[in-house]
Symmetry: C2
Subunit: 287 residues, 2 copies
């Protein structure tokens, strides 16, 4: 992959945290992402499963790798972690940087159809196709190319659910922290959907986990959802029970409420070990 540039590399828990940049064709800009290569891949010359984390609004590729405490568990469970950015960067679209919850940092993991966003704001195709293929090809010596799992937080929880439901089999395990489950009916989701997708409700449904869950027909998925009761977005944006009340024999939901926990990484770090165990029990059984 001659387009992949290594920006930094640091030892952690006997593996390597590496930050790369590359020119994205889908997004038309340079993008950064982080990976963590666990010692199992480095030293035991054994290929490992891949676990993705999609971050929330205002985050970059750095937040989860720095703040979540996840490296310990990625190292222990032998999972190669991939942390993409949350939107295109520096595309110089008018209005891109005007608000914290639209444009830069808020790509919502969808392919925009509205001008002026439709050329660059293609995070759905970027993450699920371009970066997926790049990871499998660039890191072919480290990863099991057919054994990926998916996590996400908030907007990234919405993305994690959508990408998994829309690509049956591509991600074999799924868990989310405080996900936006019904974006069409939430403040943040509706603002972004209107801006990126216009008024077409059929399009909105294509990026709404609570809608997609109804027709999902892939392999059975057991989805772990952690949610804090003191989450400041719970009643305006997240609506986990709209998702978990969907009746689909191919989906089961474990929704855990945690008394007093907010929306931030102090919450995520508390429960991230359980998520790695959830993914490892699925992904590592193929080893």
């Amino acid at each position: 992959m001659d387009s992949l540039k290594e920006l930094s590399k640091s030892r952690s828990f006997d593996g390597n945290v590496i930050r790369y940049s590359h020119e994205s064709k889908e997004l038309g800009c340079e993008m950064k992402f982080h990976i963590y290569v666990p010692p199992a891949a480095l030293t035991q010359q054994k290929k490992v499963p891949v676990l993705w984390f999609l971050a929330g609004i205002t985050s970059t590729d750095e937040n989860f790798i720095i703040k979540s405490g996840a490296i310990r568990y990625a190292s222990k469970e032998g999972l190669l972690l991939v942390c993409p950015d949350t939107s295109p960067r520096g595309c110089k679209i008018a209005g891109e940087d005007d608000s914290w919850d639209f444009g830069t940092g808020a790509g919502f993991y969808l392919d925009a159809t509205q001008e002026p966003w439709s050329k660059n704001y293609r995070m759905y195709s970027y993450v699920s196709k371009e970066l997926f293929q790049l990871v499998n090809s660039a890191f072919a010596n480290w990863v099991q190319t057919d054994n990926h799992g998916m996590m996400g937080h908030s907007m990234g929880g919405c993305g994690a659910l959508n990408l998994t439901f829309k690509n049956p089999g591509q991600y074999k395990s799924l868990s989310v922290f405080a996900p936006i489950c019904d974006p069409s009916n939430g403040k943040l989701g509706a603002k972004c959907f209107k801006g990126y997708l216009g008024d077409n409700q059929d399009l909105w449904n294509q990026y709404n986990p609570s809608h997609l869950a109804k027709s999902y027909q892939g392999e059975k998925l057991d989805i772990l959802i952690d949610q804090g009761t003191a989450d400041e977005f719970l009643n305006t944006d997240l609506f986990p029970e709209t998702l978990t009340k969907v009746q689909n024999p191919n989906l089961s939901f474990t929704l855990r409420y945690h008394e007093g926990y907010p929306h931030n990484y102090f919450f995520i770090s508390t429960f991230v070990e359980d998520h790695f165990n959830h993914h490892s029990s699925k992904l590592n059984k193929f080893c």
Copy 2:
């Protein structure tokens, strides 16, 4: 403590991460600090030991609490964690913000004697006296006021060693990550010592762990030192073996070199569990 203002509070690992601000008399400015209150203090109505972490140059009170993964262990071991800032802030001293390694963010945990620094740059007295007393009085319902331990990283490792050696009995356990052990002979240390203390080598010695270690006469201390071999400051600033070669029957050193590890928080997070075990085995035996 009516001067203590709660800026934020977040649940994590069944305890609370709290950020405070207060008016520091020693420093003549408003200062921020973080604490983590473990569940043992909150729910078991039991007082717990206090563990301090002094951060390195350019850090604030946020770095360790956000990046180290330490909360998991503070929760498990039942230690109340205190993370001070690294210098006075906003004192409007000419030159304060001109370089990354002097002035703001680089207080070096000493009491400056040179103008214009001597009025505000009193981090030694701030941490070891003012904030020590504030923690014991403001959090008297949570902490064992006579049972504190001390950690630090880089410049904060230097501070942790100095504060402990200069105040026998005040900190009963001690560990450091990549500490500056002989600041008088290092690039960063000599620049700060010259600026804050002038040319008086007797004064420099009073903040040099490798000098103070020779005359330490307090209770026996077993000091854990972790050091990465790929640390970019190892050969210009840290000099751990200048410290560990000091012969003093009241001090023992466990210096561990870690192949390929750098100076950052990916290094710290890898070994922080061992440090909490080190402190807990000393501090919790009084319970």
